[in-house]
């Protein structure tokens, strides 16, 4: 217990981060170690290059976009609170969390809406709040194997947008995005057990 406390003490602003993200002491510590391991030359923040060095991310079709999501607003560096804040989206939802929560507080980062928003932003490259057909096509191109021709991809993209599009503007807004996924158990699908 004591040792944990002393470790936690090394994390700057540990308490406020925990309050914001809801991470347990242990996970925060684990993340802190990871953060320091990724931070190659101990500069105290992560740059794009640091994340790009993670081998498996390079082969992940969405790897680049996920790295981007760590650097909002064109920042070039992410500090530890920012790093944790992104990862907090993937904290599993526990029931007592939501019931105990003060309604006046902002939604926790791991709420369904925030999880969805995170995913949505991976699609919405130009940040206009809509997934256009073009953006959908780009994602599909990443996801679907090379065997599908461009034309087929386009028709899939069309169909996908059509499916979700309700107001007929040819793009998927965040509302439509959530609607198209309302049957899916997002809380479960977008959570990683280890990030308690």
């Amino acid at each position: 217990m004591g040792s944990r406390g002393s470790h936690a003490a090394r994390i700057p602003d540990a308490d406020s981060i925990r309050r914001e993200t809801g991470f347990s002491q242990a996970s925060l510590l684990r993340l802190y170690h990871r953060f320091r391991a990724l931070d190659r030359n101990k500069k105290g923040y992560l740059s794009r290059v640091d994340l790009q060095q993670i081998g498996a991310l390079a082969v992940n079709p969405l790897g680049d976009r996920i790295i981007d999501s760590f650097f909002p607003d064109g920042n070039l560096r992410v500090d530890f609170p920012g790093f944790v804040r992104v990862l907090a989206h993937f904290r599993p939802v526990d029931e007592d969390d939501s019931s105990m929560r003060d309604p006046k507080e902002p939604e926790p980062l791991n709420s369904r809406m925030n999880k969805l928003r995170f995913a949505f932003q991976l699609y919405d490259l130009d940040r206009d709040g809509k997934i256009s057909r073009h953006e959908m096509l780009q994602v599909l191109r990443l996801m679907v194997g090379v065997q599908v021709t461009e034309e087929q991809l386009e028709s899939i993209a069309d169909r996908t947008v059509q499916e979700a599009d309700e107001d007929g503007d040819g793009a998927v807004s965040f509302l439509e995005f959530t609607k198209s996924l309302e049957k899916m158990d997002i809380e479960q699908k977008m959570s990683i057990r280890i990030l308690k």
Partner: protein, 851 residues
């Protein structure tokens, strides 16, 4: 019903049993020798296949009989019924042959009956779900089974030591362990038979079922080990032997059991098998497997019932039976609770108490335990008869009592049921995204968990396995997003076909009954389609999304016409041999439906979404002013009033009727289509809108609600261009629904009356009309093909619909290439669609007006 069938089933059986007897004891009394001599000789030749065939016949008859009564099958699981039937049959056999015959032989069971079932379940196992829950499944299968075996065996031994088991049951501790190991395994056949009907949520199902599949491996190995110990004799077993036993166990585990191997084979090969064979073969494989498994399952349960009748094999001991029953239930529950508690520490979604109750209660024992206990060697295990009796009681108790009660229990506990929703492209795509996101986040966090390894595996699979195991052309089919897209297309086509079939059936020409029937029967389909967000669901969507009464009536009328008018066409075919519809024509129709569907998707969607408010429609050059005037007239007069005029008027239907002769004479170009006989152009809802627009001054702009989101999508499609060159001539983007029809006096009357109401200025009777070839041709070009063969009989629809479905399904892979092409080519057209589509409404209307 069952009773009625029994004598029938009993007869051949009795015959078989009776005839087999004499072969063993010649001169058995009561058999007339001369006829029998010949028969006896033949009987030997055909005995094995004859018996097999007989069993399958009895099994299928039994299944048919069971399913005649829905009430019974909804309450009682089929496995229970089969066991009961087996009991009865066994009784008959026993009574006739004075000797129990046709028992469940372990050899037959393990070699012939079990593999199809296991392969089937492995093949159709939702692999994603299975691997998502692999940890839990393995825990329950291995730890749970070991736990059950040892605790049950030990407890029974304790029971015997305590004196609750009669001393005539001579069994050592090892014997009890052996018995415990064989009785502990949850049986996949029984579990599958019961749980398939219960529909609990996917996670629960996969855990119980996966456990039952995998634990057979553990059971069989454990059984072998114990058996070898027992055969050595307990006195000879040294501590070292236990170690050897463990080693043996491990070795056996490594080589795995046949059951596990078959399961994994099914699980692993599915992906590659399916990708490499054609759609038709896939269907064939699917049904072959299902049929085999179903036959095997039926026979197993029936034989189980029959075997139980043989009283020579078993000896009863109440203490042992009751003790076993209690212990297996108790230790199963205890084991589940303990393991779940441990597992929940590691699970993202913990299993709650209700799940645990169902899992404990769902531990059905079955034929595996029975086959294993029959395999025991009586000389080595003196208490075998008692064990057999106990096993039979346990199996019967779990299958019948638990099988019967689990459904009410699930309902009562409000266990989360599985919700079936159709996949949508969005869900599929986003699910993939989520997988990648999670894998990436695991990378970032530096924890190589489940998602990481799954991602790894997928990359490995993509890079090597798929390259090795799949045809090149199969890659695409394999892609899941593409697959969903493809299946959605097929489904729309099918629903289209079904819809036609359904309407046909419900068309009694009784107009008042139509709305209710439509709404009841079709909303389900509609909902499905709407769920998928497809804009291509034809008129169904009109009914569903448009709430205004008038539009609904329009749609109903539309359906009525479309269905009712289609019917005579069949008669036409039957009567006229000149235009004989060959199989080719049939296939062509299927293709057309397909192609239409593909096109419609994009087109209708875009036009509906973007053109809700169009201002003025552009008349098409070919159909000129004269008609336009008529149209304007018609609309001006009819646009508003229909609301008040009642049903027929509101339908605003315009029919273009062509007699067969005319068509033949003036349509040299239309030979391709001339099997359609007469053609009605039935236009519903959209005219109403159009009217409002064209006679813009007088009509209010219809509220968005009234506008059908996809103005009867059926009409919106561009003409399909199949390979036939001459048809290309007629290509127009007219949004017309043409229903080919034959002449029928009553119909004509009703139609002409409709029409006269719809378009007062028109004086000509529709049947008299002779259109100039040009408009006719254009109409012909985009017939709304109802995709099946006209048939002489009228009272069929479900079967017809089904036929249509299977056909379109089976032909799916053939037109796949073609269906893409129109889709692609279509896109440019769709882009300019808003206007054009609408304009054609107008034109269509013109035609009607002129009529």
């Amino acid at each position: 019903m069952l009773r009625a069938a029994l004598p029938l089933l009993g007869l051949p059986l009795a015959g078989a049993a009776a005839t087999e007897e004499p072969t063993r004891e010649p001169g058995s009394p009561g058999e007339p020798p001369p006829g029998l001599a010949l028969f006896r000789w033949q009987w030997h030749e055909v005995e094995a296949p004859y018996l097999v065939a007989l069993w399958i016949l009895v099994a299928s008859l039994a299944k048919i009989v069971f399913h005649l009564s829905r009430k019974v099958t909804s309450l009682v699981p089929e496995s229970c019924l089969l066991i009961l039937l087996g009991l009865v049959l066994g009784g008959i056999v026993l009574a006739v042959a004075k000797k129990a015959e046709y028992q469940l032989e372990p050899g037959t069971f393990f070699l012939f009956l079990l593999p199809p079932i296991v392969l089937d379940s492995g093949y159709f196992m939702p692999s994603r779900l299975f691997f998502d829950n692999l940890g839990a499944i393995l825990t329950y299968a291995v730890v749970g089974t070991l736990w059950n075996a040892f605790t049950t065996g030990a407890a029974l031994w304790g029971l015997q030591q305590a004196g609750f088991v009669a001393p005539r049951v001579q069994a050592s501790f090892l014997d009890f362990l052996l018995f415990g190991s064989l009785i502990s395994a949850v049986d996949p056949v029984a579990v599958l038979a019961v749980f398939e009907e219960v529909h609990v949520n996917d996670t629960l199902f996969i855990i119980v079922f996966g456990e039952s599949l995998l634990n057979d491996a553990v059971t069989v190995v454990l059984y072998k080990v114990c058996n070898s110990f027992v055969e050595m004799g307990s006195a000879n077993v040294q501590a070292a032997d236990y170690l050897k036993g463990v080693a043996y166990l491990t070795a056996e585990m490594a080589s795995l059991s046949a059951i596990l191997a078959v399961t994994m084979c099914g699980l692993g090969c599915k992906k590659y098998v399916e990708a490499n064979i054609s759609h038709k073969s896939r269907t064939a494989v699917k049904y072959t497997m299902k049929t085999l498994a179903s036959c095997a399952e039926t026979v197993i349960f029936m034989l189980l019932g029959i075997s139980a009748v043989d009283s020579s094999k078993w000896a009863w001991d109440s203490g042992l039976v009751l003790g076993t029953l209690f212990f297996i239930l108790f230790f199963r529950a205890l084991g589940v609770v303990l393991q779940t508690w441990v597992l929940n520490q590691f699970r993202l979604v913990p299993l709650d108490k209700i799940d645990q109750v169902v899992m404990s209660y769902g531990g059905l024992r079955g034929a595996v335990a029975f086959a294993l206990v029959i395999l025991l060697d009586r000389t080595k295990v003196p208490a075998k008869d008692y064990f057999v009796a106990t096993t039979i009681v346990v199996v019967f108790f779990t299958v019948i009592v638990q099988g019967l009660t689990i459904k009410p229990l699930v309902k009562w506990l409000k266990v989360k049921r599985s919700e079936h929703h159709k996949p949508t492209l969005n869900q599929e795509l986003h699910e993939h995204t989520f997988d990648h996101i999670l894998a990436a986040v695991e990378d970032v966090v530096g924890h190589h968990g489940y998602h990481y390894w799954r991602d790894r595996w997928e990359q490995f699979d993509k890079k090597y396995l798929s390259q090795l195991l799949m045809r090149r052309s199969a890659y695409r089919i394999r892609d899941q997003i593409w697959d969903v897209y493809y299946r959605l297309n097929i489904r729309d086509a099918i629903s289209f076909v079904d819809q036609g079939g359904h309407i046909l059936s419900s068309t009694g020409l009784t107009l008042p009954s139509m709305p209710s029937r439509n709404s009841v029967a079709e909303t389900s389909v509609t909902n499905l389609l709407r769920e998928s967000g497809s804009g291509a669901c034809l008129d169904l969507q009109v009914i569903d999304t448009v709430r205004s009464g008038r539009d609904r009536e329009d749609a109903v009328m539309h359906h009525l016409l479309c269905g009712g008018l289609y019917k005579p066409r069949r008669r036409y075919k039957a009567s006229c041999s000149r235009h004989f519809i060959s199989e080719d024509a049939q296939e062509r129709q299927d293709k057309e439906v397909f192609q239409q569907n593909m096109k419609r998707r994009l087109e209708s969607f875009k036009s509906t979404k973007h053109n809700i408010c169009f201002t003025k429609s552009k008349p098409r050059p070919r159909k000129t002013g004269r008609k336009k005037n008529g149209l304007a007239n018609t609309e001006a007069t009819n646009g508003k009033p229909p609301r008040d005029l009642g049903f027929q008027d509101t339908a605003a239907v315009i029919l273009t009727v062509e007699s067969e002769e005319e068509e033949e004479s003036d349509s040299s170009e239309t030979e391709k289509e001339d099997d359609e006989g007469i053609i009605f152009v039935a236009r519903a809802t959209n005219e109403v809108l159009q009217e409002g627009k064209v006679s813009g001054s007088l009509e209010v702009c219809p509220s968005p609600r009234i506008i059908p989101p996809s103005p009867t999508c059926a009409e919106k499609e561009l003409p399909w261009k199949s390979g036939q060159g001459d048809l290309a001539v007629y290509v127009s983007s007219e949004t017309t629904k043409i229903v080919p029809v034959d002449m029928q006096a009553g119909w004509n009357q009703s139609i002409s009356s409709l029409e006269s109401l719809a378009s007062p200025p028109c004086t000509q009777a529709p049947t008299m009309t002779r259109l100039p070839p040009c408009p006719l041709a254009t109409e012909e070009a985009q017939p709304f093909h109802l995709p099946y063969d006209p048939r002489p009989s009228f009272a069929f629809p479900p079967s017809l619909a089904k036929a249509g479905r299977s056909r379109s399904e089976s032909s799916a892979d053939i037109p796949q290439q073609q269906e893409l092409q129109p889709l692609m080519g279509h896109e440019d057209r769709t882009r300019l669609s808003p206007r054009t589509a609408n304009s054609h409404w107008c034109i269509q209307f013109n035609k009607g007006g002129r009529l």
